[in-house]
Amino acid sequence: MTDSKRASDALNEREKTIRPVRRSQIYLVSGLVLLLWAVLPFADDALIWFWPRYGAYYWNSWFVANDGLYFWFALYVVSALGLVALGACHLSRNSIRLFDRRTLLALLLIAAFGLVCCHFGRFSPRQQTVFWQVYITLVYLTAGLRFGYDFAPLGAAIIALTLIGYFTIPGVPLLPWMAAVNGGALIVGGFWMRRG
């Protein structure tokens, strides 16, 4: 009798604490993920724009572009590892998992598929920019749905603007365009989530 009371009390206590913690976790993760999504491409595009000499090389030469590509992958790998480390740290502090194994595996599979696509397509930097932008936007759109955010209009707008830029803006000026699209998306997306 006392046993079962204690058990159900403990259960209740857990229910009460888990809900807000889960919510804050979701905010934390989506915040980080937004950062990864928007700040990194923005920084990269802006960097190339403000150092035009390097930018022109980056843009025009496949060899240099490949170096740029490795730089990109390195950046993403470091960010991903950072997220994992943060998750592990969070886990040990609150004994709650920030990322479960499924999410990590899913992200790994999605990234691997993107790489395979790039390999098959022999994409130029310009095509890479558009491909990853559209691909990652679609991934966030679906992930957002899982957490109850309907990013569909925002996602559709990003994809449309990206494609418009791809077809109508020749050469390097595509980059500030993409930076603007990304930055705008970050701001709008942030407000969207606060409102939700």
């Binding site: 009798m1 159900s8 009390d9 209740n12």
Partner: protein
């Protein structure tokens, strides 16, 4: 407090009713599938289905698919009602012991 349903209370019968209740109104489960889901043996499962059928909680249909006999078990409206009441009682027990 409402009484627990003695027929449903038995662990295997509880599982059978839970599985059938999870299906839409007119859908049933094949005997072999039910066996896999509940992890019961042939004889045991058969006996408990009969108990449930006698109480009017499930209906049993036998048909032949080719040369193989196939038994389909479906929860009746009475069975679904009884199961819902049983679950409500279980929840009452948990809630009642707290306060």
């Amino acid at each position: 407090m409402a009484e627990l349903d003695d027929i449903i209370h038995q662990p295997l019968r509880l599982k059978i009713m839970a599985a059938l209740n999870a299906l839409p109104a007119t859908a049933g489960l094949e005997f072999s599938r039910l066996k896999k889901l509940t992890g019961a043996t042939d004889g045991n499962l058969g006996a408990h289905i009969e108990t449930l059928a006698k109480a009017g909680y499930v209906s049993v249909e036998k048909a032949f698919v080719g040369k193989k006999p196939q038994t389909t078990v479906t929860a009746t409206a009475a069975g679904r009602g009884a199961f819902a009441r049983h679950v409500a009682t279980l929840q009452e027990i948990i809630a009642g012991k707290q306060g």
